[in-house]
């Protein structure tokens, strides 16, 4: 196996993948933070049900998730029609569709570390903040979030890395449109199908390096002694 430089269509796939992972991570932070916070405070008996729904993408075969998303994205289905009405474009086989699918697919990887971190913060520091005149939002931003900073780091890295490597869901809802839905994992698959092992290797190595660096960063960050943040 010889090393081959990454070709320009593959560079486009790489760039698309990074862009997708970035957008998905940002959206996930916005959605998962309040969701994880609510779950960490919740005492309702429906809590296990919600937790199970959030965790579902971990165990569900990506093709199953992808299949149902594809059905939902169909312009004759409510969600698909809403999207067409709102943007004039279809969700299936589009970058927007990939973002929606990836957000759902990676949701547990953002919610779970955050929920664990918030639960570890406990109510004690927040009660102290309240008696010092901090509103609940103020206390969240100035006390809970800094104390849960490791949870945020883990959630960001896992969401990003998990989105980088997704394959099954993308193939089902996105197909293989260059510059639109052709992400790295699809490109690798295509190279292998056409027996271009060197090209596949170049991309696979890049992805391996990215994922490893991301995890290395998280573990190194979370290993630091005592909290000296914020």
């Amino acid at each position: 196996m010889t090393f081959t430089e990454v070709s320009s269509p593959d560079l486009a796939a790489l760039w698309l993948t990074v862009r997708l992972a970035f957008v998905v991570t940002v959206i996930l932070l916005i959605i998962a933070t309040p969701a994880a916070w609510a779950l960490s405070r919740m005492r309702s008996r429906f809590k296990p049900v919600i937790e199970a729904v959030v965790a579902l993408p971990i165990v569900l075969p990506p093709t199953v998730l992808g299949f149902y998303l594809l059905v939902a994205f169909n312009p004759s289905a409510p969600i698909g029609r809403f999207w067409v009405d709102a943007t004039g474009d279809t969700l299936a086989f589009s970058f927007a569709g990939l973002v929606v699918a990836s957000v759902i697919y990676s949701l547990p990887f953002a919610v779970q570390p955050l929920q664990t971190a918030f639960e570890a913060v406990g109510r004690e520091p927040l009660e102290a903040a309240a008696t010092l005149g901090a509103s609940p939002l103020d206390a969240f931003v100035t006390v809970a979030a800094p104390l849960a900073v490791r949870g945020f780091a883990t959630a960001i890295v896992l969401s990003f890395a998990h989105t980088l490597g997704e394959f099954g869901v993308v193939l089902m809802v996105g197909g293989n449109i260059p510059g639109e839905t052709r992400v790295v994992s699809i490109a690798i698959y295509e190279h292998v199908e056409t027996l271009q092992y060197a090209e596949a290797n170049a991309l696979a190595l890049t992805l391996l390096g990215l994922s490893f660096s991301a995890l290395l960063f998280t573990y190194a960050f979370n290993r630091r002694p005592a909290l000296h943040v914020g």
Partner: protein, 358 residues
């Protein structure tokens, strides 16, 4: 606000205890709350701070209704301006001591001069840059009390602030607590299971028994009533005294009740100050004749009003009326028999000055 009274009439069912609190307090000086552990002391403070919501009832402070009925008004804790010093301090671990103090000061609009005053009053200057994790228990409590003060509270709640500290650290914190109401002009509610702390700090005291409040009333009377039920080796008496004079050369403070004087180890008080002196019944000896050539400084003549023998052990508890103050002494049953002690007899109570906690 003219009428800063705190009025509570609240009910709350906990897992193993149903609480029914009813109390009115003028919100002046220091109110002590004593009771056994599990009697609901912490819950009372949490209700006042708004950290707990009662099942039913109302809480009023001055002209503000903090809570009324199960579906009525409920002022959240951050709007009540009630300072809370938790048993475990609860300093924010991600901020330095300075950061913790500023956290409170900024939200209360307290300026840098007030901040300096609090830093000074609690001796926090050398600790400002330290993280809470690196502080000793006593330092942590001092920082927590200063932080609560800097939130400019209208009422300060202290939940067993000394219980996590050893005797040496307690002595370190006590003078700070003692000075709080006057120095910072904030009324205090102090919860403790330690009646010595309450006797030292509280002007008035409420007793918590089985989720109910008795009082508030004058500290000495309340503590004596509470502990009338306690017999045996834990018995004690509290006498309301006034500081007569200080003898700085001998490091003694002389306090007076009625015509009697007691010598205590020197404390921070000034002549004229009221002070509750707590005397463990174990530390009181009885003599039928006024003793002579004895190192014991405090000799209080009185009349025996009752003697309770504990048939299961060697002890008897004698109660002496000394000038109106009821003083309890634990002596051996053998001594009662040898001296022929019985109610109506005159006797002197002997108390070593060294037994007083300073």
């Amino acid at each position: 606000m003219l009428d800063d009274a705190l009025e509570i009439d609240a009910r709350l069912a906990l897992r193993d205890l149903s609480l029914s609190f009813r109390m009115e307090w003028k919100a002046e000086g220091c109110l002590g709350v004593v009771g056994a552990s599990g009697a609901g002391k912490t819950t009372l403070l949490r209700l006042i701070a708004g950290l707990e919501r009662p099942d039913d009832g109302r809480i009023r402070f001055g002209d503000e209704i903090w809570c009324s009925g199960p579906d009525g008004v409920f002022a959240p804790p951050h709007r009540r301006r009630v300072g809370f010093v938790f048993q475990d301090a609860r300093l924010f671990p991600h901020l330095s001591v300075d950061g913790n103090l500023r956290y409170a000061a900024r939200r209360a609009g307290v300026g840098p001069d007030k901040m300096m005053e609090a830093v000074d009053a609690f001796g926090l200057e050398p600790l400002l840059d330290r993280r809470p994790a690196t502080l000793s228990g006593g330092e942590r409590q001092r920082a927590a009390i200063a932080r609560a003060i800097l939130s400019a509270p209208r009422l300060l709640l202290l939940d067993e602030p000394l219980s996590a500290l050893d005797a040496g650290r307690r002595r370190e914190i006590l003078p700070y607590l003692d000075a709080l109401p006057r120095r910072f002009g904030v009324p205090i509610i102090l919860v403790s299971h330690n009646s010595a702390e309450i006797a030292r700090l509280a002007d008035n005291t409420a007793i918590l028994v089985d989720g109910r409040i008795e009082g508030p009333g004058q500290t000495a009377a309340q503590l004596n009533a509470y502990h009338a039920a306690t017999s045996g080796r834990e018995a004690f008496s509290v006498i309301a005294c006034r500081v007569e004079r200080r003898n700085d050369e001998m490091s003694l403070t002389h306090v007076r009740f009625g015509e009697y004087m007691i010598s205590l180890p020197a404390i921070g008080q000034h002549p004229g100050d009221a002070i509750n002196v707590r005397i463990d019944a174990r530390d009181v000896a009885l003599s039928l004749v006024p003793p002579d050539k004895l190192s014991i400084r405090n000799v209080l003549p009185g009349t025996i009003v009752s003697i309770e023998n504990d048939p299961a052990g060697p002890w008897a508890t004698a109660t002496l009326d000394c000038n109106g103050a009821m003083l309890r002494a634990i002596v051996t049953r053998a001594a009662v028999a040898d001296l022929g002690l019985r109610p109506g007899m005159g006797a002197c109570a002997l108390i070593k000055s060294a037994t007083f906690e300073s």
